[in-house]
Symmetry: C2
């Protein structure tokens, strides 16, 4: 497998969110051991479809000027930047479904958060682009990222109830992730 | 109909979020005219079930110490506060499904935002409780508020496809609302 540029899982600083806080967040999105099992099943279903998933998500971003601008410089989409992010986004799908949500996972979510925020935006890929991805679109993405995965979860002939459960687990996991990705945007002591 | 204490829809200050921003957010959560229609249908389905919906949501909050504390004072849940919020929360279900998402709607979402945030928490009901609802649980609530409504949407014998569409419209609308409710928590210029 070729190395993914900028994918530094396991080699980043500590998240300001504690494992205790993560447990309470998991309770709040109703995430449990059954969801972990269904995410592992989802990984098996999605593993050979991640390019098609990314095609769909990039198609959505690319057809919305207010979204593609976050990957642009002087109004021109930066293909090098988009390509580098795409490889990590594909890996994120598999990580979301297969990694244990432990300290290392928590730390990497915070690294991704900083890369959306002005703290580290553009630095990983050493590109020129707008200085921050605005907060509101990170939370808004919970919907398209959750709704569009369903078709892909349905493609391997599993029964409807299993697909439902994989989809619910995905929705919970995406919501958890988005919360962690928005940490740097939140006023001190209000997270 | 008895007046709902603290329900000041149409009589609040202007939201800092513009209608143009709202349109772009609607595009990002894929919200369109068909969703508006399905929310109106959802209103018809939910209208006589809002007490049961609130029973379920309050049951969830009440059984989680880390959530009920936001309605407590010195560790004791404040029933007067919980009751006042409950009446407005019921009204929110109907407003989400039936109100046009115009300037007035936008303004009221911001008022609700301020009431979660330390800016106005506890003031509407003149109660003593913790000074803020932490940001992370507002976003986390997208999942339980979306997942649990499905059973209620299914209770009036509509066909599966219509239920799906009402549920998707609800999910989009809840996500939009949550984004607006978190505005006061976001660092200046990062929303």
């Amino acid at each position: 497998m070729e190395a993914i540029k900028g994918y530094s899982y396991g080699r980043v600083s500590q998240s300001p969110v504690s494992l205790t806080d993560l447990e309470l967040l998991k309770k709040t999105v109703m995430f449990n051991a059954e969801d972990e099992q269904h995410l592992k099943m989802a990984a098996d279903v999605l593993r050979d479809q991640t390019s098609e998933v990314l095609d769909m998500w990039y198609g959505f971003v690319g057809s919305n000027e207010h979204l593609i601008q976050y990957f642009a410089h002087n109004g021109q989409p930066n293909m090098e930047y988009l390509t580098a992010v795409r490889a990590r986004f594909k890996q994120w799908i598999m990580d979301l479904c297969t990694k244990p949500y432990d300290q290392e996972w928590l730390n990497y979510q915070h690294e991704v958060a900083l890369r959306h925020h002005s703290t580290k935006k553009n630095k990983t890929d050493n590109v020129q682009s707008v200085p921050i991805i605005h907060y509101r679109y990170i939370v808004a993405f919970i919907f398209p990222i959750t709704a569009t995965i369903r078709g892909f979860l349905s493609k391997k002939g599993l029964d409807g109830e299993t697909i439902e459960k994989m989809h619910a687990a995905w929705f919970k996991a995406v919501t958890l992730t988005v919360i962690l990705w928005t940490y740097p945007y939140i006023n001190k002591n209000e997270f």
